[in-house]
């Protein structure tokens, strides 16, 4: 079996082109949202907040904001990327092409992850306008963002295959992702929570993601970076497994 790398490349560039066709809204939306968060949480509320672990509150929320946008946008990008061809019927071409699970995933997920990196860069640049901040481990930060982006692209892919209506496509991010991210320590440190809740919070997987990114930024976090990394890898592995099963059985893709 030799992989059809040209096929992979075609999927990847086409997905990116789709993104660039709507570049204006793709860029404007995160810039606007991030600015709003900074105005409300950074400037209005942050001024009355103590520094957390030596990090100024406005700077403290940056990794959380990146995660908030990253998880939502990556999931919806990836899920739309595969749901739309199913919906319009253009998926026939992908299914009849000499591309398998590897080519398809690398193409779609790679493109979704690339878009996420662009988004993260835009958010970080916007944040710069509001707060001066310093990234302690820039290399690890980029790697970690890529890892999370890849994982949630895969998750979005599963969502896009599972959904059989636009409602279902939209409900998962609204019902699970956004609440869990808000509760996941975007705007606060877990140990600011009263006793039972700081333990309950540890069952929220997104706590580990936000914490992981925050560690790469400021060298300190709610949980050890190794644990964050481990949990991210487990999530990634679960998604890859589910997708392999989807392709093997043809579930929702082939009759």
């Amino acid at each position: 079996m030799s992989l059809n790398l040209r096929g992979t490349w075609s999927i990847f560039t086409r997905e990116l082109m789709r993104f660039l066709r709507t570049a204006f809204q793709s860029v404007l939306a995160p810039v606007l949202t991030t600015s709003l968060y900074f105005i409300v949480f950074g400037a209005a509320i942050g001024g009355r907040m103590p520094a957390l672990g030596g990090v100024d509150y406005a700077a403290f929320i940056i990794p959380g904001l990146v995660m908030l946008t990253l998880l939502g946008e990556t999931t919806s990008n990836a899920s739309f990327g595969i749901y739309m061809p199913r919906f319009t019927g253009t998926i026939y071409e992908l299914l009849s092409a000499p591309v398998g699970v590897a080519e398809t995933l690398i193409g779609f997920v790679g493109a979704a992850a690339a878009k996420s990196l662009i988004l993260a860069a835009i958010i970080l640049t916007t944040a710069r306008l509001f707060v001066p901040y310093h990234i302690a481990h820039p290399f690890l930060a980029v790697v970690y963002i890529m890892l999370v982006a890849a994982s949630f692209s895969l998750f979005g892919f599963i969502l896009g295959v599972w959904a059989d209506s636009f409602e279902k496509l939209g409900i998962i991010p609204v019902l699970f992702l956004t609440p869990l991210t808000f509760l996941g320590g975007t705007f606060y440190s877990i140990d600011m929570l009263p006793k039972p809740w700081s333990t309950v919070a540890l069952f929220n997987p997104i706590v580990y993601l936000v914490s992981g990114l925050r560690w790469t930024f400021y060298g300190q976090a709610d949980v050890h970076f190794g644990i964050s990394l481990g949990i991210t890898f487990v999530f990634l592995a679960v998604c890859v497994t589910v997708i392999s099963i989807i392709f093997k059985t043809g579930w929702r893709l082939r009759d």
Binding site: W9, R14, T88, L95, S96, A97, P98
Partner: protein, 314 residues
């Protein structure tokens, strides 16, 4: 059989609802031929194409294309197969030329500007290459789908109802396209429920109904085997029995002896010649007649009679 390019054996598809859309279909397709799969709606034509192209998972049976087992070596086989689906499925916002370049890459071929231009021009899409697909008419969209299927220079092309819902002009155009592809050596399998289309285009015809492939033959052989000429000769004076002089023809009396009915021939023109022979004989024998009405059976009649037999057998 010389060079089968596609071999299906015992191909069966039962959909999850329990419907058997293909029932043990055996079929060999020869290199370079145009094969028409003919059958009413719901016969299983699209399912058969879907099974070969990877859109439908067969329940059982084997499929080989270019000598590759489609269940195992599908990457190799699929590179050489193109599909124009029945439904007009397009990415509305994509410009035409991007859509076609994408198809070529997806099938593993490097970009080729000259080939892209050739495909676009041959389908009269060159002037529209920068347009988004949504701006095109239905007929043009179908051309885009054909161009996408041809972008990777397939050796085997499936056209699922290429002329369904297409106006007369575009249909003629499509026939020309198919001819041009045949000239380039592409093997073509098309489905249709227009019999005239099969009659016009195909080298061989397969008739399918309710998942059963009822008959596969050369179009001409099929006409020969099942084709018939029917002639009704209205006589000037009624007769009570067939005169000995015309006894060698397959004729009988009808309408109380006021007419002769000829049923014979084989769809190759033999029938028409015999009818001419018969009338000359009648004239020579002084048997006068006032009208001749002849009728050649078409694939359509063959089709109807075959389906009728199948209904009767069920």
């Amino acid at each position: 059989m010389a060079d089968p390019i596609l071999e299906l054996e015992g191909l069966t598809k039962v959909y999850s609802g329990g419907l058997k859309a293909l029932d043990s279909v055996d079929l060999n397709i020869r290199k370079g031929e145009i094969f028409a799969l003919l059958g009413p709606n719901g016969a299983g034509k699209t399912t058969l194409i879907g099974a070969v192209c990877g859109l439908v998972r067969p329940t059982s049976g084997t499929m080989r294309a270019f000598g590759h087992d489609l269940a195992k070596d599908w990457r190799k086989a699929r590179r050489r197969i193109g599909l124009v689906p029945q439904e007009l499925a397009t990415d509305m916002f994509e410009p035409v030329e991007h859509a076609i370049a994408y198809s070529r890459g997806l099938f593993g071929l490097p970009p080729d500007k000259a080939r892209l231009e050739e495909v676009l021009r041959s389908l009269s899409l060159w002037d529209k290459r920068k347009e988004q697909i949504r701006a095109l008419s239905g007929g043009m969209k179908r051309r885009v789908l054909i161009a996408k299927a041809l972008a990777h220079e397939p050796d085997l092309l499936f056209l699922d109802e290429p002329t369904a819902g297409v106006d007369v002009e575009l249909r003629k155009d499509m026939w020309r396209q198919i001819d041009a592809m045949r000239a380039r050596g592409v093997t073509i399998i098309l489905t249709t429920h227009y019999i005239e289309e099969a009659e016009e285009m195909a080298d061989r015809v397969g008739i399918i109904n309710k998942g059963h492939l009822l008959m596969v033959d050369e179009k001409d052989a099929m006409m020969k085997r099942l084709g018939r000429t029917e002639a009704h000769i209205t006589l000037a004076k009624p007769m009570s029995e067939i005169p000995a002089i015309i006894a060698r023809f397959p004729v009988e009396l009808e309408r109380e002896g006021t007419a002769l009915c000829y049923r014979g021939g084989d769809g190759t023109g033999k029938g028409k010649a015999e009818v001419a022979e018969l009338t000359k004989t009648l004239t020579t024998a002084g048997i006068d007649y006032v009208a001749i009405d002849t009728h050649e059976s078409s694939l359509e009649d063959i089709f109807v009679s075959l389906l009728g037999k199948q209904e009767a057998a069920v």
